[in-house]
């Protein structure tokens, strides 16, 4: 267990250092939302109606651009070989890498959402469900993304390939996340069902992603 926590601590520290991915992802998230707010213009009711979808799409894109950072730096400085060879359960190591990525992107973005929500004119009642969906859904984004990053760990410029692989797999999380956020804001009965499916998607990702990532990492190293 201590190795598990050590990997998370190391990756989180690195992500917040100069040149780390955490603040880049957060800035990208904020800038995407600002772009939308500027593009929509003065129609405040339209803005609050599409605020949750916009925030979700922005969170997805911000996660996406930071995925390459999960394994590529480790691969370049050789620490990935060491990680793979010293891991008793490689899947657990892969899980730790995904967890560290979530802390430095998904959790950070969720924490910044209440402030950014003001820019999109989100009403008070809509904020709670939106935060709940982001908190439940973004771990799934990091887990699925970490799998794609593991698949392409040996490739020098994998950013676009990761996006092509990952976006179709993100579809259910986006659909259920936005669905739950909308239903929760309107007080509709579908809130619970959507939230459950969102949680199920993240849990499925938590099951398959570490195992598949571990297999992919092994084949990327020999």
């Amino acid at each position: 267990m201590s190795g598990f926590l050590a990997i998370i601590a190391r990756d989180v520290t690195l992500a917040f250092r100069a040149g780390g991915g955490a603040l880049q992802a957060l800035s990208f998230f904020a800038l995407t939302i600002i772009l939308f707010a500027l593009a929509i213009g003065p129609d405040l009711s339209l803005m609050s109606e599409i605020a949750a979808p916009v925030l979700w799409a922005a969170a997805l894109l911000a996660t996406l651009i930071s995925l390459e950072q999960i394994y590529r730096p480790d691969r370049e400085d050789g620490s990935l070989d060491m990680l793979v060879e010293t891991s008793d359960i490689l899947a657990l190591t892969a899980f730790a890498k995904a967890a560290a990525h979530w802390i430095t992107t998904g959790l950070l973005l969720t924490a910044a959402t209440p402030v950014l929500a003001l820019l999109l004119n989100i009403k008070g009642a809509a904020l709670g469900p939106l935060l709940a969906t982001l908190l439940i859904g973004t771990p799934g984004l990091s887990l699925i993304g970490a799998f794609a990053a593991a698949l392409t760990a040996a490739l020098p410029r994998a950013g676009l390939l990761i996006a092509i692989i990952v976006i179709p797999l993100y579809a259910p999380i986006l659909i259920f996340g936005v669905g739950a956020a909308g239903a929760g804001a309107a007080g509709e009965p579908q809130y619970g069902a959507n939230l459950a499916l969102l949680g199920a998607s993240s849990l499925f990702a938590a099951v398959f992603s570490p195992l598949a990532s571990a297999a992919a990492l092994r084949f990327n190293l020999d």
């Binding site: 669905g179 007080g187 509709e188 009965p189 069902a193 199920a200 099951v207």
Partner: protein, 150 residues
């Protein structure tokens, strides 16, 4: 060695629990309603009516289609029913070929004064395919089931 074994046990136990929880959540969600559209009964049961755009699905009630919405006749009004509740829909635009009384429709629009102002009307097709003569023969023999469309 025992620490390693325990770690493995915890890991695979965790994997199993996560998988079981995911399946349980999915089954829970599928028992509830997660829908492409609302039925009239579901919409009637809501305490707080949605203000944003919705989809409404159901059958076009027999004898409810009224083309005399305005002088030029390009506004059509009809009732969508699911047996439990009815909702009146008004729509200005072209209706699809399959739109007819007793047939399923999905209406996209907004609630206003207890009715729906439609932006778009889609006809829902059922899974039955047969030649016209067969359909007529079935009707004559009285074995026709009027549940088409849902």
């Amino acid at each position: 060695m025992t620490a390693k074994k325990r770690q493995r046990l915890i890991f695979f136990g965790g994997v199993f629990l996560a998988a079981a929880a995911a399946v349980a959540l999915t089954l829970f969600a599928l028992r509830g309603s997660i829908t492409y559209f609302y039925t009239p009964s579901e919409l009637a049961a809501l305490n707080e009516k949605p203000t944003s755009a919705i989809r409404l699905g159901g059958l076009v009630a027999d004898g409810s289609v009224d083309y005399a919405g305005n002088a030029t006749g390009d506004v059509v009004a009809f009732t969508v029913t699911d047996g439990g509740a009815d909702i009146r829909v008004t729509y200005a635009g072209l209706l699809p070929d399959l739109f007819r009384e007793g047939q399923g429709v999905v209406v996209q629009g907004r609630l206003k004064d207890g009715g729906v102002i439609a932006d778009n009307v889609l006809a829902k097709h059922d899974e039955n395919y047969m030649p016209r003569e067969v359909a007529e023969a079935l009707k004559e023999q009285g074995v026709w089931q009027e549940d088409a469309g849902q």
